[in-house]
């Protein structure tokens, strides 16, 4: 372990803003993508359902 304390870790030698903005953005972006993937999958499954109903209707 390189750091002396967790506080030192979070402070990142005074560059906390830049480091955590970078890491934060990455994880936020990944989270958003994962949510969007889920949404898209649910929508695709829903569309199939709808299609089937339409077909039953005709």
């Amino acid at each position: 372990m390189y750091w002396s304390s967790w506080d030192a870790f979070w402070a990142m030698g005074g560059h906390a803003f830049f480091v955590w903005m970078s890491f934060g953005a990455l994880f936020l972006a990944l989270a958003v993508e994962l949510v969007l993937l889920r949404v898209r999958r649910n929508r695709a499954l829903g569309d199939i359902e709808e299609e089937r109903e339409l077909e039953a209707e005709n």
């Binding site: 005074g14 970078s22 953005a25 972006a29 990944l30 993508e33 199939i48």
Partner: protein
């Protein structure tokens, strides 16, 4: 292995479904290991101080942004030459993740640039060509969705992706061809100028990014297959079962 067996969307749908969880798991494990090395173990950089730790996500995402474009263009080549359906779907599935990594590379680069270069943005060749890459991804996504008929979108976007491949060498070699602020390659076949822990951390993070990208692309391609093959028999049976 019989490639043709898996190149049918219905069989690939199953294969992708089985692979994706493993890929995500591997991505999580390697990410944990890489972050541990990068954030907790690796020593500070003599010149830059702690900001340099951005390297552990900047470089993997930057590499991935180019690599994914390359893979996408290969699938596009298959689409145009053999008119295979699955390859076009894979290209569509990769594009958003590629764009995401490109955007993150730009973002992390900017936040690294502010403390080291004193500015968020400069218009040098490396940064600009990376921005162009982002626009190429956007163009690909927009064009592939701009047609009523998805097959037409596939082919048009495939052609665009292939034309855009010219940009990749420009990004990669820009630091050599032009005088740029951005630093040149420090990882090369001749050996590297980096601390071993840093290098390991970066490579582990790169693998993690690769696993993640593959997993995300496979999950997305499953949705795309469902959207496209909505009316196929096997999709119907899929839900009924």
């Amino acid at each position: 292995m019989n490639w043709f067996y898996f190149s049918s969307p219905s069989t690939f749908y199953g294969l992708a479904g089985r692979l994706a969880p493993w890929l995500f798991a591997l991505a999580a494990v390697t990410a944990a290991w890489g972050l541990y090395l990068g954030l907790l173990v690796a020593p500070t950089d003599a010149q830059q101080g702690e900001v340099y730790r951005v390297i552990f996500i900047h470089v993997p995402t930057a590499w991935m942004s180019m690599f994914l474009y390359f893979v996408m263009a290969c699938y596009c080549g298959l689409t145009l030459v053999f008119n295979t359906r699955l390859s076009a779907m894979m290209a569509r599935a990769i594009a958003p993740t590629g764009a995401l990594f490109t955007a993150v590379a730009l973002w992390t680069g900017s936040f690294w640039g502010k403390p080291t270069w004193g500015t968020y943005w400069v218009w040098d060749a490396r940064l600009t060509s990376e921005l162009v890459l982002l626009f190429l991804y956007f163009g690909f996504i927009a064009l592939s969705n701009a047609f009523e008929d998805p097959r037409r979108g596939d082919r048009a976007a495939a052609l665009l992706a292939i034309i855009g491949v010219v940009n990749l060498p420009i990004i990669y070699f820009s630091v050599q061809w032009w005088n740029t602020l951005h630093q040149g390659s420090s990882v090369s076949f001749k050996g590297t100028s980096m601390h071993v822990t840093m290098l390991t951390g970066m490579l582990v993070m790169s693998f993690s990014a690769w696993f993640y990208a593959a997993g995300a692309a496979l999950v997305r391609v499953r949705s795309i297959i469902l959207e496209r093959e909505r009316r196929a028999h096997w999709v119907r049976e899929l839900k009924e079962g």
